[in-house]
């Protein structure tokens, strides 16, 4: 009988069928679902220790949200708050990005504005609530101002840091190619700053959702912030929780949409070097 090599012996064995690995996407979905289920369960258990009027559980909260939706209150409040966030946020970005770009690129502009930026960024939007009402009245402008105030510093500072973080070799390479100052600014500095601008916008958007509650705290008749405060005044904790849940969900959705839009429209700027 001819001698068989070890490799032949190994190859002639029946193949061991390995279990198919679970795809990372399914793993993430399962982990996410488990996390939400655990949170809802803990919430329900915690709420059972207190009176429903003080600590409504998830079912009572969802029921209140459905009632508010049926009444047309929730959708109207959501739209009004989103409008205020949208206008204030866009105004903050429209001023913050160009000013951040100018401050990052031109030292005299930076020296001129930096003390004010550093000072005011430590004064929270909520501190401006009363002055804003005194100056801009109880209409939309005071609320939009507070969102604008919340947005501008985050966007501006991130943009400024982005400009000063452009890699020296990228600028040197452009100089070697004969790029003038304007070409270097438009073709190197601006695209290199984009990830910082987007990060600033994302952070500012999150803060805008927090600020809208403060902005609608007083002298407001509509909006999610008003819904939360008004419900509390009437000890309707389930409606208040419904408002808080809506605000949180809207924030998550807005962040998701922002990230999706960033990936769609600015993917190339989010590439790491």
């Amino acid at each position: 009988m001819p001698q068989r090599f070890v490799s032949e012996q190994v190859l002639s064995r029946p193949a061991v069928v390995m279990p198919r690995p679970i795809s990372p996407r399914w793993c993430a979905l399962a982990a996410g679902s488990a996390s939400i289920a655990a949170f809802v369960l803990l919430w329900q258990l915690a709420s059972m220790r207190e009176a429903t009027i003080l600590f409504p559980g998830p079912l009572a909260t969802i029921h209140a949200a459905v009632v508010l939706l049926r009444e047309g209150v929730l959708s109207q409040d959501v739209l009004i708050s989103l409008m205020r966030i949208g206008v204030g946020f866009i105004a903050g970005v429209a001023v913050g990005v160009p000013l951040g770009l100018a401050m990052g690129a031109f030292r005299p502009i930076r020296i001129f504005f930096e003390p004010y930026i550093q000072f005011f960024r430590f004064v929270p939007a909520i501190a401006w609530l009363i002055p804003a009402i005194l100056w801009f009245g109880i209409g939309e402008l005071s609320k939009i101002f507070l969102i604008f105030y919340t947005t501008i510093f985050l966007v501006l500072l991130n943009t400024m840091i982005g400009v000063s973080s452009v890699r020296r070799n990228q600028m040197r390479a452009a100089q070697c190619f004969g790029a003038n100052a304007w070409q270097r600014y438009v073709w190197v500095v601006l695209p290199a700053t984009m990830p910082y601008v987007l990060t600033g916008m994302r952070l500012a958007m999150g803060n805008s959702f927090a600020a809208v509650v403060g902005a609608e705290l007083i002298a407001s008749e509509r909006g999610i912030g008003f819904l939360i405060v008004d419900s509390w005044m009437w000890l309707a904790a389930d409606r208040m929780f419904a408002g808080m849940l809506t605000l949180g969900l809207l924030g998550v959705l807005a962040d998701y949409l922002f990230q999706a839009l960033s990936r769609l429209c600015a993917r190339r700027y989010l590439m790491r070097g």
């Binding site: 890699r167 070799n169 990228q170 040197r172 390479a173 452009a174 100089q175 070697c176 190619f177 004969g178 790029a179 070409q183 073709w187 190197v188 695209p191 290199a192 984009m194 190339r268 700027y269 590439m271 790491r272 070097g273």
Partner: protein, 265 residues
């Protein structure tokens, strides 16, 4: 250090350099002539100022005394006549694909899109990267990134190519492949190349001449070696080994001198 009557492509005459007034001189009385079309390797102990020499030749830094010329014109700042390949691939624009990165110098030069795309394709083919042209730098390996840098430096037809340890961060295998490619490209394009390295074997493999610098501070050229070995050069040959040992002895001597100087301070 003369170029034998031919106008030098790069020329240094008694140049001194320091980073700021009152600080030690990094280069002192630095003189060097590099011939047109020559592949010149600059070797030296760590910290002797090799990269400073490249930065000055590129126009990123200015000498405080003496003169530095490129094609008989004083170097006053960076320019299209001197293309640079940096040690780190971080000079590539992360938001542009390999093709767009190579196109960038042509875009700055105002060349029409169709023509610049054609030239960029040609440059990428030259470095063997045509199948990866739509990838972003983050999607390329270290070797591919350096090839992209090389293609971007070649696309402008600059007569002078400055390379600062471009293969230092690559694995040995990729480095050898890129060295062979660079020799082929340099013979084909007839550029004058100033290549900075600390690797003696790399210097012997690539160079027409090798300049060995003294240890810093106050560095200057200590000795220049003409490399007449036939190409392709491989480490195994006795002539390669002999030249390696001669350069190694000078470098070891310089490192010892630097250590003695540090001890005496």
């Amino acid at each position: 250090m003369s170029t034998g009557g031919v106008a030098a492509a790069m020329s240094w005459r008694n140049a001194d350099f320091q980073f700021a007034p009152g600080t030690p001189l990094i280069l002192k009385n630095f003189s060097l002539e590099i011939r047109p079309g020559e592949f010149f390797l600059l070797l030296g102990p760590s910290g002797c100022g090799k990269t400073t020499v490249m930065n000055i030749q590129a126009g990123f830094e200015q000498v405080v005394r003496g003169e530095v010329l490129a094609d008989a014109r004083a170097v006053r700042g960076p320019g299209r006549d001197r293309a640079v390949v940096f040690q780190d691939s971080d000079s590539l624009y992360s938001w542009l694909t390999a093709l767009e990165n190579v196109e960038f110098p042509l875009r700055v030069a105002g060349i029409a899109k169709r023509e610049r795309r054609e030239q960029a394709h040609k440059a990428l083919r030259m470095v063997g990267l045509e199948t990866h042209e739509h990838k972003y730098p983050s999607e390329l390996s270290g070797g591919m990134k350096q090839r992209t840098q090389l293609a971007r430096a070649l696309v402008l037809d600059s007569p002078i190519l400055l390379m600062d340890e471009p293969f230092a961060a690559l694995d040995a295998q990729t480095r050898t492949i890129l060295q062979d490619d660079l020799v082929r490209i340099s013979m084909r394009t007839k550029r004058t190349i100033l290549f900075i390295t600390h690797d003696i074997a790399e210097a012997i493999t690539l160079a027409d001449r090798i300049g060995v610098m003294t240890a810093g501070p106050e560095s200057a050229i200590k000795e220049i070696f003409e490399v007449t070995l036939p190409r392709p050069r491989r480490r195994g040959s006795p002539a390669f080994g002999e030249l390696y040992d001669r350069i190694q002895a000078i470098l070891a001597d310089e490192v010892q001198r630097a250590l003695r100087r540090e001890d005496s301070l």
